[in-house]
């Protein structure tokens, strides 16, 4: 099931209402002529309860207030973030459909899994989340606790007790898969990875004890950690996270000298979208990002471990850098790389 576009009449009423009540206060951003006159849809490529959905929900309200039209979300999960691309490709370059995507897009381009080059074929509006990752166990998983606290050494001992013994709840996205490969190589074990498209199922598999460990970003699972359903067991970072000082980190505690791959999430429109619309949307989302409401979300979700905002120009550089980085990593791991990279 998916969220459908609402009918034009209701959309019109919604737009007029919002515009009349809220927009005048935020009139400083120059609007292009006749845009937007109807709701804008943000198409995202992952499930509805994970980090992508949360990041859109946090911007949805502020952006809607600024533009005076409703901003919808449309989820098309599957294929490790690629099954949504044909839907996006069929939309016109008119600024009414915005694609939200993550580091998976440049990585999969580098792997040759998609021909959409995000650095060339998309116009970035911003990058709004940049975050490192960690490993999480079930909060009451006695196998991996010492004196009631998560103990990564116990996880390691279990993982090393047999190939495929440790079962990881994961997603078919290169950042996660490469990170696991690096951890496997460094720590000397081989895990079994079960790949989910929907975050609810991915988290549920660990909370329910069907799988042993989850690779995820701190903010995405913060509510489960606060409730004791999940517990951080390892930070994949050169130092311990300030938000989790008791959790060991790969750098200081296990001597892993590696610059971790980061999760980033950005908003993009199609190349060919009228320039004034692109400029307008870039300004709108920058303003939405900086609202008090959104900044509270950034703080609450620990998205300030690394500065999360990237301007459109920096976002383009980030995409180009990610393509080069992943091409290099894939070569090192002996995996397929797009010819010419």
């Amino acid at each position: 099931m998916r969220i459908t576009f609402k009918p034009m009449v209701v959309a019109g009423i919604a737009a007029l209402f919002t515009a009349a009540v809220i927009a005048p206060a935020l009139a400083e951003i120059k609007k292009p002529a006749n845009y937007p006159t109807r709701p804008i849809t943000i198409l995202f490529c992952f499930g509805k309860a994970g980090g992508s959905a949360q990041s859109i929900q946090a911007l949805q309200g502020p952006a809607s207030k600024i533009m005076g039209v409703k901003v919808n979300m449309l989820s098309k999960p599957g294929g490790g973030g690629l099954n949504c691309l044909p839907d996006f490709a069929q939309t016109p370059a008119d600024g009414y459909t915005i694609l939200q995507h993550i580091d998976a897009l440049p990585a999969k381009y580098a792997a040759g899994a998609t021909d959409l080059n995000p650095a060339e074929d998309l116009e970035p509006l911003l990058i709004m989340n940049v975050a490192p990752s960690g490993l999480y166990i079930r909060g009451d998983d006695k196998r991996f606790l010492t004196n009631g606290k998560p103990d990564f050494d116990k996880v390691l001992a279990y993982a090393r007790s047999g190939e495929g013994k440790l079962a990881v709840s994961n997603i078919n996205v290169p950042m996660e898969l490469v990170t696991m490969s690096v951890l496997e190589k460094h720590f000397g074990f081989k895990a079994k990875q079960v790949l989910f498209a929907k975050p609810a199922q991915r988290y549920g598999a660990v909370i329910g004890g069907k799988l042993d460990i989850l690779l995820e970003q701190p903010g995405d699972v913060s509510k489960h950690v606060e409730a004791g359903k999940l517990a951080p067991v390892l930070s994949i970072w050169p130092e311990r996270f300030k938000i989790a000082p008791d959790t060991k980190a790969t750098g200081p505690d296990y001597g892993l000298k590696w610059s971790p791959l980061l999760r980033f999430r950005g908003l993009f429109v199609k190349k060919g979208t009228p320039k004034e619309i692109v400029t307008y949307l870039q300004a709108v989302f920058k303003e939405a990002y900086n609202t008090k409401e959104h900044q509270a979300f950034i703080k609450r979700k620990s998205l300030d471990i690394v500065e999360s905002y990237r301007s459109p120009a920096d976002a383009k550089k980030e995409l180009e850098g990610a393509i080069a980085t992943y091409a290099k990593v894939f070569k090192e791991l002996g995996q397929k790389v797009r010819p010419g990279l």
């Binding site: 099931m1 459908t4 919002t18 929900q57 309200g61």
Partner: protein
Amino acid sequence: MENFINGTVLLFTDPTGIAIFIFGLFGGLVFGAIPGLSLLTLAAVLLPFSAWLTAEHAIMLYGVIYVSGVYGGAITAILFNIPGSVENAPTAFDGYPMTRKGQAGKAIGFAVTCSAIGGTVSAVLMMMATEPIADFAIRAFGPVEVFAVVFFGLTVVAGIGTRSLAKGWLSLLLGLFLGVIGGDPVSAVPRFTMGSLYLTGGLNFVPLILGFFAVTEVFVQGQRMASGTHVPSKVSVAYPSFKEFWDLRVAVVRSTVIGWFCGLLPGIGATLAAFVSYNEAVRWSKHPETFGHGDPEGVVAPETANNAATGAAMIPLLALGLPGGALTAIMIGVFNLHGMDIGPLIMVEAHDLVWVLFASMFWASLAILFLGIVEAKGIVHLLRIPFPIMAPAILVFSTIGAYALRANILDVYTMFGAGVAGFFMRRSDYSIPAVVMGLILGQIGENVFSQAMVMLDYNFLNFFTQPISAVLIGGGLATVAYNIFKHSRSYLATFGRLDETTAHEPGD
């Protein structure tokens, strides 16, 4: 009980709260009933406005929309063979044939009463034990067990809506085939896409369901009009008697249990509930051949189950922060808009608010019972509209429904393509319900199968090492074997008699 009373008091002591409750009730019914304007449309439209309401009113509104919207889709499924949303599709399998037999009032009566029963029982269970039930469900059901549920369900599908087992299986396989078109769920490897961008994105449920049900029906009735054999649906406002309900008590209990458990599974929700419940009604019936031809149990089963799933879906949402379906995922947004992170702590942090939600869903389930009784007596008169006026209206609504999904004209072509295919399939006694079941359950099943196989070391026999999956897969295989045995016996008996007749022909 005290919590429930407090929730109810918060709900109904404020005129604004009452107004929002009534708005949600009618809004869900109307949007749930019109294809393309599902309850999700209403939920999405109202999301920004919910920020203007108090947290109690906003959460209550979404609880009410959820309950009434899931029921609303049954009305058009029964009267016009147009399911309002995917979880109402099985209702059309028998609901519409009941309408054709002049039993529309009864069909709506069964649907409304059973929706109310399913929803109310579900709401009560939700209030009694949210946290322990959520913990149990999530520990007992992983990808292996969910795949087993889907497999078990699919094994009875071939017998629905056709007299031929072979045609039933072919229909099911067609549905499974349609479901795999597009990128695969794990790696996006394109399958059967013929280089088409549209097919690479996969076929969407909504245009296919509208095509197979609504458009096919218009074509079938149109052909009958052209050939002078069209018989208008008889208008009947007769409500089911108490005895008729009592006769179906087992089906109601079974469907409530199935709907409840399916609703508990994160990411799946009411759709699986409705389809599995319908399948089980067929499996346990003494007359499975009557399904697809207007058996009231075919209305009772999915409508009880999809509403029983509503309260159950709240359990993983509230206790674990894991949504069961699209609407519960939108509810996460409603909580966020009011500064709360839905999840395990919500029961502590927003105790009163959660009880307002529980109370609103309970009262909404009861309210649709009374509304539905009025509807059963009134709305069936729509059937008096002559077919030459109704047919274009159905096609226009269906076209809008298919197009509104993502503003893509190719979805409209898909809908008409499915309509034409459905027309010829029905003429040849292929099963439309089996196609739709294959399509929906196949996509859910493929996802969990890919995960389950990794967990089971790519060894199918390992499904038998887990108790729940062993029982369900074993039961499914037994069902297939029994069906083949039953049909073979009947085939041999028929041909045996023919041989006997031939052997004693005069002159022999």
